[in-house]
């Protein structure tokens, strides 16, 4: 008797589930992995806020379906990032994993997400390691940011265009630092006076800057993200070098996670970027204004990338009628996602990395007296990464 009731109940439940048409919206579940503790927590904060702003702009429902966002802190540790990805994919059963600031964490967790049999998508909100752009490219991986080398390539090209003959280049001694300078050198045609690698996390550059001044370069290119960038730029200015030897940097050393800490010392510095807070297009103006209204600060590229990641998911879901059931359909929809990127023209290359513009900006003050990246022109239009040839996807 007991068993009969149980079976009846099961049958009822099953029929209720089966009776739902395939197109009935079960919603989308997204896991956002980012860094929320330690010195890089500011980047993670912008990433989460940018994504949430996009959800709000989509009326709380990406693609018009119920949207659930699960946020997790990778603690700046690859093992913690991987464990988080496992939990989100296997226990929370998310459809899409996004976020991820650091490339080492991305490489640690990408297999966990991409090799899951349910067909989970991974949309990077920042990290763009060469492996995932080239030989390890994957149909379910998409980058809403750039390939790691691109921003540095842009500045190499600009400094070549500007006729700079002797450059002094510096970065922290870790994989992204070496990739950055390799990307820079790919497009810089002048002489590299010295290529200096410093300790990761170092914040005193007195010794290195004295050596730099003695070498008398024409310009300096640095890749120092976070607190390292704050310390470097201030010490560069304190030595009086800003006027003598112009300082060039990628956006990671000149964005809104850096400028408030640097202060006026940063004025005059040049930066290369795929997006800037002062980039003039309707989508960006709305994004920047609403971000400021909601969070009371100017967004950084981390916020912009995360916002775009959400908007691209939104557009793809709209194209599939809100369904993730057919993975091939959703993948195609993502690849051709029709959304207004805050960076202007945007399309995916065959390796699912963006083909996009890179701009030159200079640090100055806006009408409210705050430090911002002011547009100084386009360096690359429709720039693709160098690894796409090694990717087998067509």
């Amino acid at each position: 008797m007991k068993y009969k009731t149980l079976f009846a109940a099961l049958a009822l439940t099953a029929s209720a589930v089966l009776a739902q048409p395939a197109s009935a919206q079960q919603g989308v579940k997204i896991g956002l992995i980012t860094t929320q503790s330690g010195p890089n927590a500011g980047l993670g904060r912008d990433m989460v806020d940018g994504f949430n702003l996009a959800i709000r702009h989509a009326g709380g429902r990406l693609g018009g379906v119920p949207t659930e966002l699960i946020v997790g802190d990778d603690q700046f540790r690859p093992d913690a990032g991987k464990a988080l990805a496992e939990r989100m994919v296997q226990r929370d059963r998310v459809d899409i994993v996004t976020g991820v600031i650091f490339s080492n964490i991305m490489l640690a967790l990408s297999d966990t997400v991409l090799k899951d049999r349910r067909g989970v998508f991974l949309v990077s909100g920042n990290a763009g390691p060469s492996e995932l752009a080239g030989k390890d490219c994957n149909p379910n991986f998409f980058s809403a940011s750039w390939q790691n080398d691109n921003t540095h390539e842009a500045m190499g090209q600009h400094m070549t265009n500007a006729g700079i003959k002797r450059a002094y280049i510096m970065a922290p001694n870790y994989p992204a630092g070496r990739d950055a300078l390799a990307g820079f050198k790919r497009f810089f045609k002048g002489e590299v006076v010295a290529e200096v690698y410093t300790q990761l996390g170092q914040t005193d550059y007195a010794a290195e800057l004295a050596a730099l001044r003695a070498a008398r370069p024409e310009a300096t290119y640095i890749f120092y993200p976070g607190g390292m960038g704050v310390a470097y730029i201030r010490q560069y200015a304190q030595l009086g070098l800003m006027q003598q030897i112009p300082l060039f940097a990628p956006s990671f050393s000149a964005d809104q996670t850096i400028l408030p800490g640097v202060g006026d010392a940063a004025i005059g510095m040049f930066s290369s970027t795929f997006w800037s807070e002062s980039l003039g297009n309707p989508a960006n103006e709305k994004f920047v204004a609403d971000f400021e209204a909601a969070y009371n600060r100017i967004p950084s590229p981390y916020a912009a990338q995360s916002y775009d990641a959400a908007m691209m998911i939104d557009a793809a879901l709209k194209a599939t009628g809100g369904s993730l059931a057919n993975k091939d359909a959703f993948r195609n929809a993502l690849r051709t996602a029709n959304f207004q990127s805050v960076r202007g023209p945007f399309k995916f290359n065959t390796n699912h990395f963006p083909i996009q513009n890179y701009y030159l900006t200079q640090i100055g003050k806006d009408e409210k007296g705050r430090l911002v990246n002011q547009m100084r022109g386009i360096i690359f239009s429709g720039h693709a990464d160098a690894y796409v040839g090694a990717c087998k996807m067509k």
């Binding site: 503790s37 010195p39 927590a41 904060r45 914040t203 607190g227 704050v230 408030p260």
Partner: protein, 295 residues
């Protein structure tokens, strides 16, 4: 390397050295006298910098903010000692390491909650901004010279305190034989509290002066702490004189270690190892450090 560059790097090394000394002096006293491994010493450096940055914003004056930040961090130090550390003195070093590592996480998170996750701004005071051409052709920031001067003055002041005052006598006695000092009727718990507060105040001074040149951010004390431990191990635990000599040596070795290998075409990894090689070398010949307080 030209003579000019050599002189400039020597200044840089000395300046790093005195900053390390301010950190090491407090840590070595706490370690030597209280036999307490305090990993959270770097947190007090961070707290001092954040206090100084905020007080500078509120009062508009760095020189007003500096004593306020030192005082505030002294209070934080005394509270930490009374609330969290006092129960740990009798425990072994591993327990102390675990508990004070917990304090690092606690202070990092608390700082993030109060001041936010990105670095905050702290400017060089206008009076000390600008450069002076101490070495022809190499204008040097006046502020860094001021840090050097303050560090040397504090070293002198500490020497006076330790060598010439009653409190200093107790500290020295405590460093060489704690039990005996207690047996002679000295209020050990008050002495501990004072020593810990003094260490916190020195760390705050280091952090507050570092604010305008480095970066005021969560976790800023962690990297500093490792170098500080190298300094007190080389100098000999519990010895202020050892801390001073070792801090200057470590400052110079670290500074030149970052420049010389690159110029000779050697791998730059040597820069990261230089001070640890130095430490291994010193410990090989003098296992208790250069000036061990305990015989």
């Amino acid at each position: 390397m030209s003579l000019l560059l050599f002189l400039e790097q020597t200044l840089n090394g000395l300046q790093l050295g005195v900053t390390l000394f301010l950190m090491a002096a407090g840590l070595t006293l706490v370690f030597g006298i209280m036999n307490m491994v305090n990993l959270a010493h770097g947190s007090l450096y961070m707290v001092g910098a954040f206090f100084a940055a905020s007080f500078t914003q509120w009062t508009g004056s760095f020189f007003l903010a500096l004593p306020l930040a030192i005082l505030a961090t002294f209070v934080v130090g005394v509270l930490v000692e009374a609330i969290a550390l006092r129960t740990l003195y009798a425990r072994d070093h591993l327990d102390q390491v675990l508990a004070t590592f917990g304090l690092i996480l606690f202070f990092n998170e608390l700082t993030k909650i109060i001041w936010g996750p990105i670095s905050i701004f702290m400017d060089v005071p206008p009076l000390l901004s600008g450069r002076v051409e101490l070495i022809a052709g190499a204008p040097y920031p006046i502020y860094r010279l001021a840090v050097l001067a303050v560090g040397l003055a504090v070293a002198l002041g500490l020497w006076w305190l330790i060598a010439r005052t009653r409190l200093g006598m107790l500290i020295r006695a405590g460093a060489s034989n704690r039990e005996m000092v207690g047996a002679l009727g000295v209020d050990i718990s008050r002495l501990y509290m004072l020593v810990f507060g003094l260490g916190a105040a020195l760390a705050a001074l280091a952090g507050a002066m570092a604010g305008p040149i480095y970066v005021v951010e969560v976790g800023m004390g962690d990297a500093m702490l490792i170098k500080t431990f190298v300094v007190i191990v080389i100098g000999g635990i519990g010895s202020i004189r050892g801390a001073f000599v070792a801090a200057v040596i470590v400052g110079l070795v670290d500074t030149f270690g970052r420049i010389v290998p690159a110029q000779l075409g050697l791998p730059t990894a040597i820069a990261e190892m230089a001070i640890y090689i130095l430490m291994a070398f010193v410990l090989f010949f003098k296992p208790t450090g250069l000036f061990a307080a305990r015989a």
